[in-house]
Symmetry: C2
Subunit: 343 residues, 2 copies
Amino acid sequence: MEKQKRTTIYDIAKKLNLNASSVSRALSGNSNVSETTKALILKTAKELNYRQNSMASNLRKGENQTIGIVVPRINQNFFANAIAGIEEVTYQKGYNLIICQSNESAEREIKCIDTLINQHVSCIILSTSADFEDNSHLKSLAEHDIKLIQFDRVDETLDTYKVLSGNEEAAFEAVSHLIEQGYKRIALLEGPQNLSIFRERKAGYLAALKKNGFPVIKELIRENAWTRELGAIATENLLALPEPPDAIFASTSDFAALGVLDVAQSKGINVPQQLGICGFSNEDFTEITQPSITTIDQFSKEIGKSIANLYFQKIKKGTVADLIKVVNIKPKLVVRNSTLKNG
Amino acid sequence: MEKQKRTTIYDIAKKLNLNASSVSRALSGNSNVSETTKALILKTAKELNYRQNSMASNLRKGENQTIGIVVPRINQNFFANAIAGIEEVTYQKGYNLIICQSNESAEREIKCIDTLINQHVSCIILSTSADFEDNSHLKSLAEHDIKLIQFDRVDETLDTYKVLSGNEEAAFEAVSHLIEQGYKRIALLEGPQNLSIFRERKAGYLAALKKNGFPVIKELIRENAWTRELGAIATENLLALPEPPDAIFASTSDFAALGVLDVAQSKGINVPQQLGICGFSNEDFTEITQPSITTIDQFSKEIGKSIANLYFQKIKKGTVADLIKVVNIKPKLVVRNSTLKNG
DNA sequence: TTGTACGCGTTATCAG
DNA sequence: CTGATAACGCGTACAA
């Protein structure tokens, strides 16, 4: 019942009457080893079921090939897909991923970052929590020589690489589409304005109104309506107005759009004829609802890949600081039935 | 532009004219250090922004506090929640998680396992891919002193700890519910029979029929109908029978149930009056569809927690082999509109 | 081409 | 209670 000892380079060196360093060289493949001994080493390594001890290797090399990810939720489609995209690249490079959820809490986010610092990860990929305010926990990363890549929900004031989708542009397109379809009073559900993505989406909304000569009606703009429940409440209020909207752009998320649909259905309001609905993010369920929900696809998996490539191609080498540190992945409007007033 | 050197226990020892070992002791908290020096050490550790190097620590201690997870897909609710449950426990213990997706491919699964072996993780938590057949890659884990916990989709022949939900029981309950509601011809969509969970669910279906004196009608049982598309195809075929079913139990997944609903709606068949539908897993969207879908909640987050607790409470210590190695988390039938024939 | 020797940052085991 | 020292497994500059 004694502890299994894993085979090390010493074990295989001993067996071959060689030195451990030769084994190390042969295994890493870079340096000069004679073909014959190399073959011999590889063969017995396989026989002895050798696996490199990454802890020792990383310790020696001074870097652990691990990347930490911090996202609000792992089980939202946008993030799950982004992670899948990241994994696809890092997997090939032999890097590991440590995944943390902040659960939309800044406090928990700080803890996650702290854990990752303790793990001495090479890089942290972050999308901030909803109540993000203070960024001091991020500033400290530099002292620990940990790279930071922000995506989607970013702190703009921080000078890091960022991977974003064109939020303003997408919102502009969505609202323009609503206008084209003949909607006249378009409401906006907006998210916490401390997050730049939500400010940008609002800007896109405003720009589209302006371009088409529509007035900005303050009572049609609702703050902090970014969950299913909050979206529903906001919708109740909007529909109770003397002049209710004939379309609602849930710029915050598809979940909010779902809340809108809930209320519309409970009130027997016809979507899209009496009320147009547009969401954001292209969650899977938007295709399933009755009617299906128009939304914006952010190519989340592409975003993930971009992030990982950014790290390997630019940041890791990290000698010259780039001037352009922002990558934009252009999103796409996905038109579905919830806004098709004119078939 | 030179590389930041992280502070080590030597740095803080030097500053205090102490020995590194004292610092180590103070930091780990276990051993005997005088209160005063301990306080002093902790204080300057904080000042110097010290973080333990886990690579070095783990190397020295001979175990890396990391657990690997291999699941078919990270973005299915069941798995995402299970992972969240695992994380909740491991996070507190200071353990890290490495997450891999097999994408339902045995080949990829083997690669994932291999990567995790290379990482020398302490434990692997696995739910097998759909085309799982050979288990030799799992047998080799013991040689590397890596514990294995299987959950949900398990290889029964392997003598490991397993965390399961009562699949047979749940299927029995679901079919009994359909019978109670007055459905007479209940079809079954079943999954790949190489996976035990699907065999168990089928057994539950058969048992419920038997108990209620219903005949087993072979043509109502459809193999490999376990995605939305395959579920739809199977439904097309079922509905084309001379005597079509009046209820379909999509034992494989809610996705298959969704495929059933697709077809019913395209054919103008009333659910639940003309056709009852029951899924499996309680994916979020089952609540959103029209009508909402009756399904089975497996308490996936609980399953995750159980797995992690199993590791820390029993397996890690790992001296005495347990006789009972299977933990069952009892699932629950969630009745929704798709089966409520009698309101 | 191969061997020697050292250090990565910790912790465990001895002494003192 | 504290200090010195070895060892975890690997990679690499240097010497042979």
